[in-house]
């Protein structure tokens, strides 16, 4: 039986360093190649030795597919391709291909230039890595080789995020990457057709959450920001440069416009302008509304939001600052946080998920004293708010996707084990399909049951319903038995049976035969019964003849003759 194997090297019962190996129909595919935000050691990257202990990556892998530009999905890519060594094709969508190297370079700078780490990938490595990338278009069927084909679907989540359908022969797997089933202010909802994959590999970040309506969350968010500003506080919103940042900018921009607010909104890092430019050029990847109106008004040109300068952090008075990165684990958001943490008038709003080990994660868990580098501690007095604006599917969304794609098996990654367990139960109950949740390094094997495609001669196909055909295995052609004999140069061997039955009947031979005919006709409904002019009766292909006995004209001899192929007799 053919099998599909799935082994997470990262994101197995965990969030971070997504990297999933899939073996299907003799092909090996790596899905995502991310880093873990919570670690600074070896655990930061997926464990590639799982593959490399048996040989080079290039020999093992047929292709690598990156779902979107978030670092927990692509952060280990240059490490894998340039340092571990992989020269095969890497697939990602156009926006991902455009934005991913910028985030990688940013990440590299923070790690190497600020933290002083050595033995890390270089700018040149990022460039070399990106040369191996082949861009994917939505819905385009890409033939990786003669047997392996992949197709990308829109995933929402962030600009350019894609789900991929991987197919070899009649076996297939869908990997969702991160996705969002509800459209938001700048992106559309994920969509996939009823492709009935053997396995659907889905993220499960919000496996147990069913989020309230987005409108409520937005109102809540605006209220909190507004209140804070009113009392003269400063609001820090740690974000990643691309993604939720644009969503929240659109939200605040329209709110400021409507309320006629004067407090400044800043966006940290020089990336802003550039980031917004990507959104303008890849407008086809945003939602319907933005695409429709972009000629008249480009949503990514902001009036109220200005570039941030480090010195502004000490300015008096209220302000809102979007700063990167989103989990407060390094960079500008962390610096501002340290400055503002001591004042209870201030507020930090965490708009997305925080990985374990990050400061974001710690303060969300209520920690008020933080140990900083150099044994210093930081008292957290400012308000800490959490609002889930990350564009992940919630439990309802995941169930919705299952209904869309109708998978035969389900496999959960990119989530916490406890939450996965809950969702797994729900899925198995509702859809009666198997649901797996392998840990990192653990292999899930699913046996598939593909049907066998053969070519049937059109003549044969046109004979209805039950058919006796022959497959010639060499070419996989299905032809009728007669044709098979002919094509193979074999002669047919007829096997016939004849049986004599005697009965008493005073009529003449033709009359007897006619009486038999009438009788059979009344008894055997639904069969072809013919009275032929040559003095025989045919019941389907059984021949019946009548002759009188030589001795006694009243004794009739019935000759029944049939061939081996007659099906409704027992012999």
């Amino acid at each position: 039986m053919p099998e599909i194997k799935v082994t997470p090297l990262g994101a197995g019962q965990d969030v971070g360093r997504s990297c999933i190996l899939v073996s299907i129909g003799g092909k090996n595919i790596m899905l995502d190649c991310g880093m873990h935000m919570g670690y600074n050691d070896d655990r930061r990257f997926p464990d590639f030795s799982y593959i490399t202990q048996n040989g080079r990556l290039t020999e093992f892998l047929d292709c690598v597919i990156i779902s979107h530009f978030h670092l927990d999905h692509c952060g280990a890519l240059p490490y894998m391709s340039e340092m571990v060594g992989y020269d095969g094709p890497i697939y990602m969508t156009h926006p991902t291909k455009a934005i991913c190297p910028i985030l990688l370079e940013d990440f590299r700078k923070i790690t190497v230039d600020k933290k002083g780490e050595t033995n890390f990938f270089t700018s040149q490595m990022i460039k070399d890595c990106m040369k191996k990338v082949i861009p994917l278009n939505l819905h385009q069927t890409v033939q990786v080789d003669d047997e392996l084909e992949i197709k990308a679907y829109y995933a929402g989540h962030v600009l350019g995020a894609a789900m991929v359908h991987i197919k070899v022969g009649s076996e297939s797997v869908v990997y969702t990457g991160d996705y969002n089933m509800t459209p938001d202010r700048h992106l559309g909802a994920a969509w996939i057709d009823k492709c009935r994959p053997d396995i659907l590999i889905s993220e499960s970040t919000y496996a147990t959450t069913i989020r309230d309506s987005k409108r409520c969350r937005e109102r809540d968010f605006l209220k909190k920001v507004h209140e804070s500003i009113e009392r003269g506080g400063k609001v820090l919103i740690p974000v990643f440069a691309l993604g939720r940042a644009q969503e929240l900018c659109i939200l605040l921009e329209t709110f400021w416009e409507r309320m006629n607010l004067k407090a400044p909104i800043y966006f940290s890092t020089g990336l802003t302008e550039k980031a917004n430019h990507y959104y303008k050029l890849f407008i086809t990847w945003t939602n319907q509304k933005i695409r429709k109106t972009f000629v008249q008004r480009n949503m990514f040109e902001f009036k109220h939001i200005k570039a941030f300068d480090r010195s502004y952090a000490d300015n008096p008075g209220p302000m809102v600052v979007f700063a990167t990165p989103g989990m407060l684990h390094a960079g500008q958001s962390l610096q501002i946080f340290k400055k503002w943490a001591g004042n209870e008038k201030n507020m930090v709003i965490m708009p997305g998920y925080c990985v374990q080990g990050t400061i974001g994660h710690k303060i969300l868990n209520g920690q008020r004293k933080l140990e900083m580098e150099g044994r210093a501690t930081l008292d957290v007095k400012l308000q800490v708010e959490y609002m889930s604006f990350s564009a992940h599917a919630d439990a309802k969304g995941i169930m919705q996707l299952i209904r869309m794609a109708e998978p035969r098996n389900m496999l959960l990654v990119h989530g916490e084990a406890v939450k996965m367990e809950f969702l797994k139960g729900k899925i198995e109950q509702e859809f009666s399909i198997n649901c797996y949740m392998p840990a990192n390094g653990e292999t899930t094997t699913v046996t598939t049951n593909p049907s066998v495609p053969v070519d049937i001669s059109l003549n044969l196909l046109k004979r209805e319903m039950a058919l006796g055909g022959t497959v010639c295995y060499g070419d996989g052609f299905l032809v009728s038995s007669e044709q098979a004999l002919k094509e193979l140069g074999l002669n047919e061997h007829q096997l016939r049976f004849t049986c004599r039955v005697q009965l008493q009947d005073p009529h003449s031979d033709p009359d007897t035969l006619h009486r038999i005919y009438t009788h059979l006709k009344s008894v055997l409904k639904g069969y072809t019964i013919q009275h032929l002019p040559d003095g025989t009766v045919m019941v389907e292909s059984i021949v019946i003849k009548v002759s009188s006995s030589a001795e006694d004209p009243n004794t009739k001899v019935l000759l029944l003759s049939w061939s081996y192929q007659v099906t409704f007799l027992r012999c």
Binding site: T141, L485, L495, R496
Partner: protein, 648 residues
Amino acid sequence: MKLYCLSGHPTLPCNVLKFKSTTIMLDCGLDTTSVLNFLPLPLVHSRIVLYLFIYCELKECAGRVFVDSQPEFCLPERELLDLSTIDVILISNYHCMMALPYITEHTGFTGTVYATEPTLQIGRLLMEELVNFMERVPKAQSATCWKNKEIQRMLPGPLKDAVEVWTWKRCYSMQEVNSALSKVQLVGYSQKVELFGAVQISPLSSGYSLGSSNWIIQSHHEKVSYVSGSSLLTTHPQPMDQSSLKNSDVLILTGLTQMPTANPDGMLGEFCSNLAMTIRAGGNVLVPCYSSGVIYDLLECLYQFIESANLGTTPFYFISPVANSSLEFSQIFAEWLCHNKQTKVYLPEPPFPHAELIQTNKLKHYPSIHGDFSSEFRQPCVVFTGHPSLRFGDVVHFMELWGKSSLNTIIFTEPDFSYLDALAPYQPLAMKCVYCPIDTRLNFHQVSKLLKEVQPLHVVCPEQYTQPPLSQSHRSDLMLELQPPPMPYRRCSVLNLPFRRRYERVYILPELANSLVPSEIKPGTSVATVSAVLHSKDNKHTLQVLPKPPPAPPTKKRKRVIEEPPVVLAPKPLLSGAVPLEAFLATLQKHGISEVKVEETADGHILHLQAEDTLIQLEEDGTHIVCDNNEPLRTTLRDLVLRFLQKL
């Protein structure tokens, strides 16, 4: 398989393919050359308009007779087949979809239109522009009298020679455009779309314009390629995908260059030098053009040329109701652009340099000559505006304005209209005319090379491609020469495509596949008998295991309850081989049948089983068991015979 040809225009095709019970329309081109027979809109120069006939719908102007009414277009043939039976329409590029509202509206059409996103968006802009041009100067009058055969016969040319005049129709409305375009389903290059499970269609990049595509229409065993408007030149669109066209049974070839003797690069050079010369002499340049397509390349060319030619201060105007949209849309289709332009987007920079021309105020765009333009307009300048037929749109105004001065130049770049015919109503003209048509579509040399590479079994093409152009009848290089010769079509042709379908794909369900026992008949050839129930749903065929037969009743001929549906029993295999006498006798012996009398006959032997009073006739190609009412014996004998035979 049949092909219905609804348009005779080789670059604005409209064909219908019937293939495996699907009806597929290939393109929906609108022949707009008919508008050359009409007077330009609006009519301002009454000086040269004279009444000619008592029918006031015809007017003479510059020595030529024109129809004075809303211009009309030549539609694809609508009587050749019932348009409501069309399942899908495949659009190859935005120039080839302009007749769409005529086909999808008011005909009972209920199908789907497939097109790429740039094709849809830019096609919508071009339609919007056309409607806007027409609605700006509404004419109540619709001329029909002249179409009367008796009258048309007496008219001077070219009106006299106009064909299919009764199919000519006025422009559609914006409402009809919206309704037609709402039927479009977007597709991406190399996307595989299943039609009713019977046929798979897939668009391929054709390299001609943003989102332009050729189409593959195939089943498991047959492949038709539809090539329409393709280009091998490196302009802005993604390069043409040639290799996917390989192994076609039939290749339908349309949309070759209309200017086989004009080299696009040379024309571009001429365009620039004429433009610079006119400006330097203090004149204005008028470029009648479509609002999308070659204009992007012209602007890019000028972007590089402006500085070197010292034209930095000359204003460039692009005037069209959709000018802004067209320029904006061109920047957002990174996926559909050539590699160089894609790379720019990654930086991120706009892929087309006209963004910079706009930013630096060198290029300005206006929806029409009214409003802002009239106050900001400076001369000498360069104006890009439509429509290239010079019959409607803002271009008419500039012809009036600049036509009388020999300082000015009109440069024709679009190949769709004869420039002499376009200029006819404006004669006599002092303005300089330069004709540098830029048509990037395949020329005959390129196409014959392409066909050599992809090797289709048969080629179908418009009849125009099978002979040299009328004006250059000696140029045998300006036609298609193929072996076997291409099948030509003309408007209203119905071609039987040379195709025989012999096989169809079926799927054997795993349960059944597992039960098959292949046996090797001869080296390398194994066979297995398949007894199955065929399930056909949505044109997909599967073979499933036979349902278990009910227990056999005791009587020989079963009397079945009539209401019961006939139970399908596994059919018995055919037999092959022969029964060897000696071995068979030995086997009989083993089963306790020893009293056998063997009699030789012409074709074999007759075995008389004396104790059982049974005859077995053994021949090379048959065995006949004659045995009276002894079921167990017959069964035994049957099984013994079967041991020696192969079952298929």
